[in-house]
């Protein structure tokens, strides 16, 4: 048998699933004792170039509350043309179209290599994608110009039949009519008034008929003809380009000492109301571009008086943030409405100060939209990131999908506790729903309004069997993930992944279980739990909780003699885990110090949706070292890696830092790279740049790109991430000549580990 490493990799490649444990303890008590829950990271739309979708529909179990999809793990009686559901054990006849089935003539979904399969639903007409731009006009001239250009450019990236709409706002909110000749028309809303969706639709003159229940495509068709605000790109791109070109800054004067009045709340409400009234349950993306915080009306985050600064973490801890609760509530309600309609909201916030992401984050977090944060629209960070929203995959399809519904089915021994990711609960109760909630729980179905190939959810499970009635050995627990979504080609598709894991008796097979531990997945999953808690709990409590979990895990699996820290050892499958936790504790996901509330929200937003690899980078940035001594090599994220004659490339996901050591920097300054005889130095300088470009090409959102050197002010990005093994406190104690001391009082990994060992072996803990 392959190693667990390989097994894990194979599973991830095939099904997009990484379980924390790849052997499951056979009882609930044992499961609890493992500290890290039985859980997985699941990437529903993981790119599978090798997996062409099948053109028919899945075969479902006929039991009403099961409806599991026929899969390779089912028992099939080819002669009787009957298959047994491996979740509820219902025996189902095959549909007539499967008449020719035999053990040599099996449909794809029965083959083991198709544990993940994608079906295309043929029924019903398809609705075009919808892109609704919601644009803040309270921007600096230069910024607005850049944004206008980006938007105009984006029109060429949209599928020609996609519908586009434009809403601009400042003090007022304007919904632009797109198909008019001779005169530019728009509907205007006061920026301070909270309107119901019905009012908005009336005011926009939308036909109430179009507002339908469950995605009646029929209604959507009618709406296409009648809705003046959403028109196919190919029909209005000239108009829209002109319209964007004529877009002016918000004309209302901004008195000295005031912020511009920005009606973000109402603008969103109008956008959501518009889509709700015209295209419910059709894939739609509301793209909000803001250059500052909402300053008036519902959802206002800060008043327009400049002398009252926007809330900081300090204010929030002191309960001094006036608008926080109200605004958050407002945006949450709106996010939920949006999610119900299956639309998603992106936020592109470009401002030097905070722009209210803390309050608005739920808009994207609950609907699967993007959040992009930058300093200005006139930066390549924004421009390229925005362009990348419309990137295409190997098939030429957009890397985006809409209106996803993820359903998790479990075999009887397992129940699902919840998920953490960019989704909302659909409140689907069922036999596989656990009462024990983790993350968004209490349901077996979640809606993910906007998703892309990297969207990843953490899903938590619970072993049901009691200790005295464990699952019999040899059986397997089965989990089926059914994801229905609207593909960017507007097809509706269903992707089904069915996975199974063996049961193991924790008493006797603890080593097996231990070796089935996926410490990377576990670290990310625990981190998600920590971040999820951090949203509602005080920072220190979360850290304490994480520490306790770590200690318990070490106690459970470490080998040591009681009260002898030096004897402590962890097996290979857990060896990196404490280090992940160390960096996690220092990460911006849990530490708010030095981050604004908006930044924290932004970091957390990305953390709870990226796939495992990206998440790990976020937890523990990657550091490469370039030198004359050999090819680039990954080095420890440690201050000792900062050497004078090296160039370092650090990728934290959000930042990409190139750091030139002191000597290198001096050489560069002296211009050696210009001299022919130092061609190799030139090569050395270029190497990290090329690597960085590679990362920049693929990363979404674009990381902040920093090129710095020893002593540069931006070197702080690097210094704050590395393990401070050398600080001003212990520089001489360690007596090393290399590396760079970090001026910090933070504990280093070494100290952390020592402490951990002490606690793990302590008999009193």
């Amino acid at each position: 048998m392959a190693t667990y490493q390989e097994f894990i990799q194979q599973n991830e490649d095939r099904d997009g699933v990484r379980f924390s444990w790849n052997l499951w303890p056979s009882s609930r008590l044992e499961a609890t004792r493992l500290v890290v829950p039985v859980s997985c990271l699941f990437t529903p739309l993981k790119e599978r170039p090798d997996l062409p979708p099948v053109q028919y529909e899945p075969v479902l179990c006929s039991r009403a509350n099961c409806k599991a999809v026929l899969n390779p793990l089912c028992q099939v009686d080819f002669r009787a043309k009957i298959w047994a559901c491996n979740f509820c054990f219902q025996r189902n006849p095959f549909p007539p179209s499967y008449a020719g089935i035999s053990d040599v003539n099996q449909p794809a979904e029965l083959m083991p290599q198709f544990s993940t399969i994608e079906y295309i639903v043929q029924r019903g007409p398809t609705a075009p994608l919808i892109f609704l731009y919601v644009v803040d006009t309270c921007l600096e001239e230069e910024d607005l110009q850049a944004l206008k250009e980006s938007l105009q450019m984006s029109l060429s990236l949209l599928p020609p039949n996609a519908l586009v709409g434009l809403i601009t706002f400042g003090r007022m909110v304007q919904v632009h009519e797109l198909s008019c000749e001779g005169i530019a028309k728009s509907y205007v809303f006061r920026g301070t008034k909270d309107l119901t969706s019905k009012q908005i639709q009336e005011m926009l003159g939308l036909k109430p008929a179009a507002t339908g229940q469950q995605g009646r495509p029929q209604a959507a068709q009618d709406a296409e003809a009648t809705c003046k605000f959403l028109q196919p790109v190919h029909r209005v791109d000239m108009n829209l380009t002109d319209l964007l070109g004529e877009l002016q800054r918000d004309p209302w004067p901004v008195p000295q000492g005031k912020r511009p009045l920005r009606s973000t709340g109402v603008a969103l409400s109008v956008a959501v109301g518009l889509l709700e009234g015209t295209y419910p349950n059709t894939g739609a993306r509301v793209m909000l571009f803001i250059g500052g915080p909402p300053t008036q009306g519902p959802g206002m985050v800060v008043g327009d008086e400049l002398k009252l600064p926007i809330r900081s973490w300090h204010d929030i801890q002191k309960d001094n943030a006036r608008h926080l609760k109200k605004a958050t509530k407002y945006y949450e309600a709106m996010a939920n409405r949006t999610a119900v309609n299956g639309h998603c909201i992106d936020i592109y916030a470009c401002a030097l100060d905070q722009s209210g992401l803390l309050e608005m984050k739920c808009l994207s977090n609950l609907t699967g939209g993007h959040i992009v944060m930058g300093d200005a629209f006139n930066t390549s960070l924004f421009k390229q990131t925005f362009q990348r929203v419309f990137s295409k995959d190997y098939n030429g399809d957009f890397r985006m999908a809409f209106g996803g519904v993820l359903e998790v089915k479990t075999s009887r021994e397992v129940k699902v506790c919840g998920t953490i990711g960019p989704c909302v609960s659909l409140n689907a109760k069922g036999p596989s729903v656990s009462e024990n909630e983790m993350g968004t729980g209490g349901t077996s179905q979640w809606k993910i309004c906007g998703l892309n190939p990297s969207t990843t959810l953490a899903i938590f499970f619970e072993v049901v069997n009691q200790h005295n009635a464990p699952v019999p050995q040899g059986g397997r627990g089965v989990i089926q993930f059914v994801t229905q979504y609207q593909h960017s080609s507007t097809q509706r598709r269903i992707r089904v992944s069915t996975v199974a894991r063996n049961w193991a008796d924790a008493q006797t097979q603890i080593q097996h279980i231990e070796s089935s531990f996926d410490q990377e997945a576990a670290a990310v999953i625990m981190a998600r739990l920590g971040v999820f808690r951090a949203e509602s709990e005080e920072g220190p409590d979360v850290l304490r909780w994480l520490d306790r979990q770590l200690i318990r895990l070490c106690q459970k699996f470490g080998q040591f003699n009681k009260d002898d820290p030096t004897s402590f050892k962890l097996s290979e499958s857990l060896s990196l885990y404490p280090q992940f936790m160390f960096h996690l504790r220092r990460s911006p996901f849990l530490q708010v110090f030095n981050n604004s509330p908006d930044e924290s929200s932004y970091y957390r937003h990305h953390f709870v949706r990226q796939d495992l690899t990206q998440s790990l980078i976020m937890v523990q940035p990657i550091l490469y070292s370039y030198s004359f001594h050999g090819p680039p090599e990954p080095v420890l994220l440690d201050s000792s890696s900062i050497l004078q004659d090296r160039i370092l490339l650090m990728d934290t996901f959000f930042q990409l830092v190139i750091y030139h050591g002191e000597t290198i920097a001096q050489w560069r300054k002296a211009g050696y790279q210009e001299m022919a005889e130092y061609e190799n130095f030139k090569q050395l300088l270029l190497a990290p740049l090329d690597d960085a470009q590679e990362i920049l090409q693929t990363r979404f959102p674009m990381p902040r790109y920093v090129d710095t050197e020893h002593g540069g002010s931006q070197a702080r990005f690097l210094l704050s991430k590395v393990n401070p093994s050398q600080t001003h406190n212990n520089l001489y104690a360690w007596g090393q000549e290399t590396g760079a001391p970090i001026l910090t009082d933070d504990v280093s990994l070494q100290v952390f580990m020592d402490h951990l060992k002490k606690l793990a072996v302590s008999s009193s803990a």
Binding site: M172, Q174, G182, I183, A184, K185, S186, Y187, V188, F189, R190, K193, L195, E202, M203, L204, G205, E246, Q248, P251, W252, P253
Partner: protein
């Protein structure tokens, strides 16, 4: 006579540049900086010289006067009615008395005193003459001669004349004539007398007696005294003796007027001023049947007489309490220290000194102020005075502005306020030495010291938020609901706006108008347009949140027309098409106005909304209206609810509009009931107007509407106005009527005030007034000009005070009185049953007249109706008022029309109410095509029509061309180009343009009238006996009304009976 003088007189009159005359005169070089206008060099100034007439001047007589008399002379002439006759020079001596300079003049003029003494008549003459102007002050007259009379004045007034009554004491009183009107008397006198008459305004009434030639027709007729009842002395007959009473019951006719008259029959006296025995007689004895309609006082006659007597003569305002000519009379005015009657007219120019007296006579004491009245081209526009950064100089206590009534004392270092008597320091920069008369040396250089009306440049303190004001804006808000689009109205408006906007009013001298324009269209939602000049095409912004209106844009909404012309053209071209397909028929209304207010608020300016609206606002929005028209309420106690606006947002909206200086003009195009009472509520509180075109059709009503629109856009106007009327101690303004809003009891707020808006202010006594000092009022209007400058317009007027009721009656002004009654009745019907209101009107009429009879008239038979000369035709107006649409209580009139008229009346000036209540009926069938003059109007009665005649009737709101059944075909042919009446199209609204003299003449008459009136009128052509004639008939106010309402004759009899009841 005077004319020449007038014309000639360069000094005051002509100077166009500045104020007329001033310029030359005051030239004060130095001064100028302050007043631009005054340009002239100082020297000229000599003015005051000799015979000045102005009051102040008079005193001057002795003065130093300076030099150059020449200039003044002319003036002098002007004053005097007849310059030539009384050469100024003569006078000096007489002037001892300060006050009435005029008198003086006159005096001299007058026939030799001696005569006068002897002959009352003669005196009369004097009086009358003098009176013209103001005699009131008469008492003091200086002329020796007059003295004797003095006594007279009191009682007499209107009385029946005592003719010649030699001096019987009684008589004399009667005569009071001197002062006023009485004019009648005059005649008798020797030839001389003649001269005097001329002037007096009153003329009319007085009976002038006799036979005057001029009068011709009128009254005199009665000569043959009416049978029984009438005493009429007939003019002539009465002859000399006739005197007393009877003579003209009615005062005979107006004889008075013509100067010429006098000479003639001395006898005439007959007529008394107002005595109107007439009906009385009837009552008394035999039924009036016999009454000859011609025997009752005729309005047309009174008007004609006044025009003849005072028309064309310069009216100088230098005399306190002087009664101006009738509003119908055309006369140039020269401001010499009191506001011209164009700006202020009073119900009486002689206030009773005590509250008791006022109560006793029940004559309302009121002033009708038209602060922006347009001034004819040949009169000087108001000067603008700038007192620099500290703002206008005002009394520290009562805050009255510097004016001719401030008395400088203490060598010019201090001044005493003419209103509250507080003594104030004169600011250093304003200090000026006094001459030996105690008058400032710069008297003539400063309009605020020598004129009745002028303006001050206001400082920032007078601006909203202490910020410089922006120029006002005009916002055009067009209802584009189905009806309006379909009727073609929207297109009509859009097309018209293109040219109309080129003619926005602009301040004199500036190239283009500073007024910004903006456009909104609406049905159930509002569409705003961005017409910024930089745009290639207009942008439309739809606001559907009518529950909470706001303005969606700032920049580009209110623009300069010239700059944005291309975009605006583009827009106006597109609007009719854009909504061509719309079938939205519901509209909103309140949000439209709110949008305007918000727009002005955002732009920080004041302005005016032109709303073109067609239907009742039924769409779901604030101010949604329900049909509440209920004809069953007519003639019940609940009828008043038809006039009351529906409650709710409208009231608040008016306040907001006024606070922002947002005036609302509403053009209504209803095809059914639209609840005008409510919809017009805002316009009627913001100084706006309401125009109503029932069942509008572009072909027939288009021109009518466009003319109104053009006038409305172009008329001179001030914005964001606040006005206060200050009075000297003893009385104060208590009630205010007009298109105004009042937040407290003294400040009159108007979002805008234009040249046609008048407000009526009623005064009450606080204390006793002094005959000596008289009564002053100062109306100060703070407003924003069309350029955005803040100004204070000041109108000052001084009145006499008297302990004698006869003075009061003599100085009454019927037209003003009726204006007051019309407005107060129109307000009263909001709160009381119409029946009560009508009763009150009749009772008050009877009371006023009986009081006169009791206190002022000579004893006479109870059966004789005696009317004060100045109020001779009051009953016909009163009767007409009670028959007016709002007051008549007929179910046949549409509720909307009644409400509309009620509201229009509230803002009317004296001219408008006069014409409304006594339409002008002009015969056109025997036109003298060659003559310039208009044919003399005839009385509004069916009897005056003739089958073969053609008459033009107009009352400022409607215009009819009535064609008798037997109209000569040649006339029909030349006017209409059809062989006979039968071929006439039914719905003509204009005369075809035919190339013949008659057609040209008639059309020019019609257009001339339209030109003169504030509103355009739709010409309706009616044939005798045709159905539409009914409409026409209701304007024949002397007849019984179709909708119920007495004929003039019946009413007069009724009033007479009431009077008799009161007297017994």
């Amino acid at each position: 006579m005077s004319q020449q003088g007038y014309v000639a007189a360069p000094p005051y009159s002509q100077a166009q540049p500045g104020m007329g005359g001033y310029q030359g005169g005051f030239g004060a070089g130095p001064a100028q900086p302050l007043y631009g206008h005054y340009g002239g060099p100082p020297q000229t100034f000599n003015g005051p010289p000799t015979g000045m007439m102005k009051a102040p001047v008079s005193s001057a007589a002795g003065m130093p006067p300076p030099a150059a008399p020449s200039q003044y002379n002319p003036n002098v002439q002007q004053n005097g009615a007849h310059p030539q006759r009384y050469p100024p020079p003569a006078a000096p001596a007489s002037y001892g008395q300060p006050l009435q300079s005029q008198y003086n003049n006159m005096a001299p003029a007058a026939p030799p005193p001696a005569q006068q003494l002897t002959n009352q008549m003669s005196t009369m003459n004097l009086g009358s003459y003098a009176s013209g102007p103001m005699q009131s002050p008469p008492p003091p007259t200086n002329s020796v001669a007059q003295q004797p009379f003095q006594p007279a004045p009191p009682p007499a007034m209107g009385q029946p004349m005592m003719p010649p009554g030699p001096q019987s004491p009684h008589m004399s009183p009667i005569m009071s004539a001197p002062q006023s009107p009485q004019a009648n008397m005059p005649m008798a006198g020797p030839p001389m007398a003649g001269p005097p008459m001329a002037g007096p305004p009153m003329a009319g009434p007085p009976m002038g007696g006799p036979p005057m030639s001029g009068m011709g027709r009128p009254f005199p007729a009665p000569l043959p005294p009416g049978p029984g009842g009438f005493q009429q002395p007939g003019p002539g007959p009465a002859g000399p003796t006739g005197y007393p009473q009877q003579a003209g019951q009615f005062g005979g006719h107006m004889a008075g007027p013509q100067p010429g008259m006098m000479g003639p029959q001395p006898g005439m006296m007959g007529p008394q001023p107002g005595a109107f025995p007439g009906s009385a007689g009837g009552l008394a004895g035999p039924p009036q049947k016999k009454l000859d309609p011609d025997s009752i006082p005729s309005t047309t006659q009174v008007i004609e007489d006044d025009q003849a007597k005072r028309g064309g003569q310069v009216y100088n305002t230098n005399i306190r309490g002087q009664v101006p000519p009738l509003v119908t009379t055309e006369f140039p005015i020269q401001d010499q220290g009191n506001a011209s009657p164009r700006f202020i007219r009073c119900t009486t120019y002689s206030l009773p000194c005590t509250a008791d007296l006022a109560k006793q006579c029940q004559v309302p004491l009121a002033a009708i102020i038209k602060p922006f009245a347009s001034v004819p081209k040949n009169e000087t526009p108001l000067y603008v005075v700038n007192h620099g950064e500290t703002g206008p100089i005002r009394c520290n206590r009562c805050k009255a502005y510097m004016c001719p009534y401030m008395q400088f004392i203490d060598g010019g270092r201090r001044f005493q306020c003419g209103f509250c008597n507080c003594v104030n320091e004169v600011p250093a920069f304003y200090f000026q030495h006094l001459d030996h008369m105690g008058r400032r040396v710069d008297f003539y250089e400063r309009p605020e010291l020598s004129l009745g009306s002028y303006e001050f440049a206001a400082t920032l303190d007078y601006c909203k938020n202490n910020k410089v004001q922006n120029p006002p804006a005009f916002l055009f808000m067009i209802d584009v609901s189905y009806n309006n689009v379909k009727s073609g109205l929207v297109k009509l408006i859009c097309d018209e706006l293109k040219t109309l906007l080129d003619n926005l009013p602009c301040e004199d001298g500036s190239e283009s108008s500073a007024i910004k324009v903006g456009f909104v269209t609406y049905n159930k939602v509002l569409h705003f347009y961005n017409v910024k000049s930089a745009l290639a095409q207009p942008q439309m912004m739809v606001v559907s949140d009518t529950a909470e209106m706001f303005v969606p844009l700032l920049d580009g909404f209110l623009v300069n027309y010239q700059e944005s012309r291309a975009v605006i053209y583009n827009l106006l071209d597109q609007i009719p098409d854009m909504f061509a397909e719309s079938n939205e028929s519901e509209t909103v209304f309140v949000p439209v106005i709110q949008a305007g207010v918000e727009a002005f608020k955002a732009a920080e300016c004041s302005g005016k909304l032109f709303i073109f609206h067609s239907s009742m606002p039924t769409a779901e929005a604030p101010g949604k209206l329900k049909n509440r028209d209920d004809k069953k309420l007519v003639n019940t106690d609940k009828e008043k609810t038809l006039f009351q606006p529906q409650k709710g947002v409208y009231e608040q909206l008016s306040k907001e509009c006024v606070a922002q200086g947002c005036c609302v003009d509403l053009f209504l195009f209803p095809s059914q009931y639209v609840d005008v009472a409510t919809m017009a509520d805002v316009p009627s509180h913001t100084g706006g107007s309401v125009y109503k075109y029932n069942n509008f059709q572009v072909e027939t009503d288009g021109e009518h509407f466009l003319t109104d629109l053009r006038k409305d856009v172009q008329k001179s106007i001030g914005f964001d106005a606040i006005m206060r009327v200050r009075t000297s101690t003893g009385f104060r303004a208590t009630e205010f009527f007009g298109a105004i809003h009042m937040n407290n009891t003294t400040d009159i707020e108007m979002a805008a005030v234009d040249c046609d808006k008048a407000l009526t202010v009623e005064f009450k006594h606080d204390d006793t007034l002094s005959e000596e000092t008289g009564a002053h009022m100062q109306c100060a209007l703070l407003y924003t000009t069309i350029n955005g400058q803040r100004r204070l317009r000041i109108h000052n007027l001084s009145l006499n005070c008297s302990l004698q009721l006869s003075e009061l009656y003599k100085s009454c002004e019927t037209d003003s009185l009726i204006n007051f009654f019309a407005k107060s009745a129109c307000r009263a019907i909001l709160n009381q049953p119409l029946k009560n209101v009508r009763e009150i009107l009749v009772n008050q009429t009877a009371h006023m007249l009986s009081c006169y009879r009791k206190n002022c008239a000579t004893p006479s038979a109870a059966s004789q109706l005696i009317l004060p000369d100045a109020m001779k035709v009051f009953p016909v107006y009163m009767n007409s008022l009670m028959k007016s649409a709002p007051l008549v209580g007929s179910t046949e009139l549409s509720t909307d029309d009644r409400a509309h008229q009620r509201l229009s009346i509230m803002a009317m000036g004296v001219e408008d109410t006069q014409l409304l209540l006594y339409p002008r009926l002009t015969p056109l069938h025997n036109l003298d095509v060659g003559s310039e003059a208009l044919p003399a109007p005839v009385r509004c009665s069916e009897e005056r029509l003739s089958e073969s005649g053609m008459f033009l009737l107009e009352n400022g709101q409607s215009m009819f061309l009535w064609l008798g059944q037997a109209s000569p075909p040649d006339i029909v042919q030349s006017l209409f180009n059809v062989p006979s009446l039968a071929h006439l199209q039914g719905n003509m609204s204009a005369l075809p343009e035919l190339d013949n003299p008659l057609s040209a003449k008639v059309r020019s008459i019609i257009s001339g009238l339209m030109e003169k009136r504030p509103n355009s009128m739709k010409l309706q052509i009616v044939r005798q006996k045709d159905k539409p004639e009914m409409l026409f008939r209701q304007f024949l106010v002397e007849d019984k009304s179709l909708h119920g309402g007495a004929s003039y004759m019946d009413f007069l009899c009724y009033v007479h009976r009431e009077i008799r009841l009161l007297l017994t």
